[in-house]
């Protein structure tokens, strides 16, 4: 125990400042009313859905929770069920085999809900594109509010996308 405490003390607080929302990322203008968004502000629950990514985006979403970025410190946390979620964070081109699962996850998420598409593949289909096995971009399957490009997008870019979605054009 002594060595753990010593290591914690030596590490100190690593958390850095959070990014600001970026209106350029918004795909749909103000889908949710401002009064609804104020409920999300400061307490948001996210369900991550990997719809067919290469797992690069998942690595960076994991990194959003590390002490440097400390997403949970902003009141934003990942939950185990879409029924508990306010937002879906969707990665990858949507594979045909995940199409139904993604739609069902979207339907299981209670209104009002937000969708953020992560990564070049989620935004455009990326290098995998559309084919017999891939439906391409996320917005081909479910409505998308904010898109975050990058291969993979950095944790700061992902956080910026999430914060843009819940800022509702206020800031």
């Amino acid at each position: 125990m002594y060595y753990m405490l010593k290591q914690i003390a030596a590490t100190g607080i690593k958390t850095e400042a959070a990014p600001q929302p970026d209106e350029a990322l918004r795909a749909v203008a103000d889908r949710l009313g401002a009064e609804v968004l104020q409920y999300f502000d400061g307490a948001l629950t996210i369900r991550h859905v990997d719809a067919g990514s290469c797992n690069g985006c998942e690595l960076e979403i994991h990194m959003c929770n590390n002490p440097y970025y400390n997403l949970e410190g902003l009141g934003i946390k990942f939950v185990a069920s879409p029924r508990h979620a306010d937002m879906l964070l969707v990665t990858g081109p949507v594979s045909r085999n995940m199409e139904v699962a993604l739609k069902r996850t979207y339907d299981a998420t209670p209104e009002p809900k937000l969708v953020v598409a992560i990564g070049d593949c989620g935004c455009t289909g990326g290098i995998f594109g559309e084919s017999y096995a891939s439906c391409g971009r996320v917005s081909n399957v479910i409505p998308v509010d904010v898109t975050v490009p990058g291969c993979p997008p950095t944790p700061l870019a992902i956080m910026q996308g999430i914060l843009t979605a819940i800022s509702g054009g206020k800031r």
């Binding site: 060595y3 753990m4 290591q7 914690i8 590490t11 690593k14 369900r47 991550h48 859905v49 990997d50 719809a51 067919g52 990514s53 290469c54 797992n55 690069g56 985006c57 998942e58 690595l59 960076e60 979403i61 994991h62 990194m63 929770n65 590390n66 002490p67 440097y68 990942f78 185990a80 069920s81 879409p82 990858g92 081109p93 594979s95 045909r96 085999n97 995940m98 699962a101 996850t105 290098i127 995998f128 594109g129 084919s131 017999y132 096995a133 891939s134 291969c151 993979p152 950095t154």
Partner: protein, 353 residues
């Protein structure tokens, strides 16, 4: 359970048969991430193919990019300059360290030691930031191209890398002793998710998981390419085949990779980091075989007319290892499944293609 799981994880369907808390049987149904990668390769230029190969499984992007580049180079009959090969080895070992750091953090977390996750994630973040600063990408995507490496290592960056490795080694050493001494953690790790060496040999368990189950196999040792031939890699092995063994192998491989990275920086050849690869004729074959962090990555390539790809098959070590996970969980309790799964940390994307 699944394909959409309770966590930030790739999709797969797991069907458990349980009695009380004990798992009688696990059936894995994969294929949800099939997005037609092999079909996508067809007709691509060799340069486009390099980008796609680096995205078969994002966590192994260096291993895939190297294996693909090796396949292209063997089809074209060229050998990249020594500096390129040494830099590729440096990138491969950096990828290994990054992934092992992440896994060790999550293995601590899955056994309820959140301290371990926080510590290892800080180390991984520092490591990724150095990748970004020195090589231009946090996960080193597109750093390896057919003919060499896309970005040379600046001489003034070497001091910083050495300093960073010394700091990392010191911290990982103290974290290892904390993990080793932690009774609660070891209670979860030891005798959990067993794969006996005989079973591992029969079903062809490979890579990190294989080496933890007595399968002394590592391409860097058995079929060393340049520069591993000169570096004399010391293989990490264990015979217990449980989660604890897979943790130990990961710790040992981090220390060994740091030793290799230092040697590479000491002996890095001078010269060009990349050469032009002539277009291979139609119908030329090439293969690439690289020991990635998870295990051996294999790429087979056939060229078509105008230097385009006719067929390309990337093969992930997860393909061999997934069936072993079904065996490893038998007789364990359901709450240990995430721990066992993480100790293998197999790729869904690389398996489903």
């Amino acid at each position: 359970m699944g394909p959409v799981h309770a966590g930030i994880i790739e999709p797969g369907h797991f069907r458990f048969s349980i009695v009380g808390e004990t798992v009688l049987r696990l059936e894995q149904r994969l294929g949800y991430k099939h997005k037609g990668i092999e079909k996508r390769f067809e007709g691509m230029t060799l340069a486009e193919g390099a980008r796609l190969a680096g995205r078969v499984s994002g966590d192994s992007t260096v291993a895939y990019a190297w294996a693909y580049a090796m396949a292209v180079e063997s089809a074209a009959g060229v050998i990249p300059p020594p500096r390129a090969l040494w830099l590729r080895a440096l990138l491969l070992e950096r990828e290994r360290v990054a992934n092992h750091l992440g896994d060790l953090g999550y293995l601590g977390n899955d056994a309820a030691l959140a301290f371990g996750l926080a510590q290892f994630m800080c180390l991984k973040e520092d490591w990724l930031r150095a990748n970004q600063a020195v090589f231009g990408h946090r996960y080193l995507m597109d750093a390896i191209v057919p003919g060499g490496v896309a970005r040379d290592l600046a001489p003034d960056a070497m001091g910083g890398l050495r300093y960073e490795m010394d700091a990392l080694e010191a911290t990982v050493t103290s974290l290892k002793s904390i993990y080793d001494e932690h009774a609660g953690l070891q209670d979860r790790f030891i005798q959990c998710g067993n794969v006996a060496p005989a079973l591992a040999a029969r079903l062809g368990l490979t890579g990190v998981a294989g080496r933890a189950s007595g399968q002394a196999s590592d391409l860097r040792v058995e079929h060393p390419s340049i520069p591993f031939r000169e570096l004399e890699v010391r293989m990490a092995t264990h015979r217990n085949g449980d989660v604890a063994a897979r943790v130990t192998v990961r710790f040992e491989e981090i220390f060994e990779s740091l030793r290799l990275c230092r040697l590479i920086l000491d002996r890095l050849a001078l010269g060009e980091p990349v050469i032009e690869v002539p277009l291979p004729p139609a119908g030329a074959f090439g293969v690439g075989w690289v020991e990635g962090w998870r295990g051996e990555v294999f790429v087979a390539l056939e060229t078509g007319p105008e230097g385009r790809i006719r067929r390309c098959h990337p093969h992930d070590p997860s393909w061999q290892n997934w069936p072993l996970l079904e065996h490893a969980v038998i007789g364990n309790i359901v709450p240990d499944f995430p721990l066992i799964n993480k100790s293998f940390n197999l790729s869904y994307s690389g398996q489903d293609l």
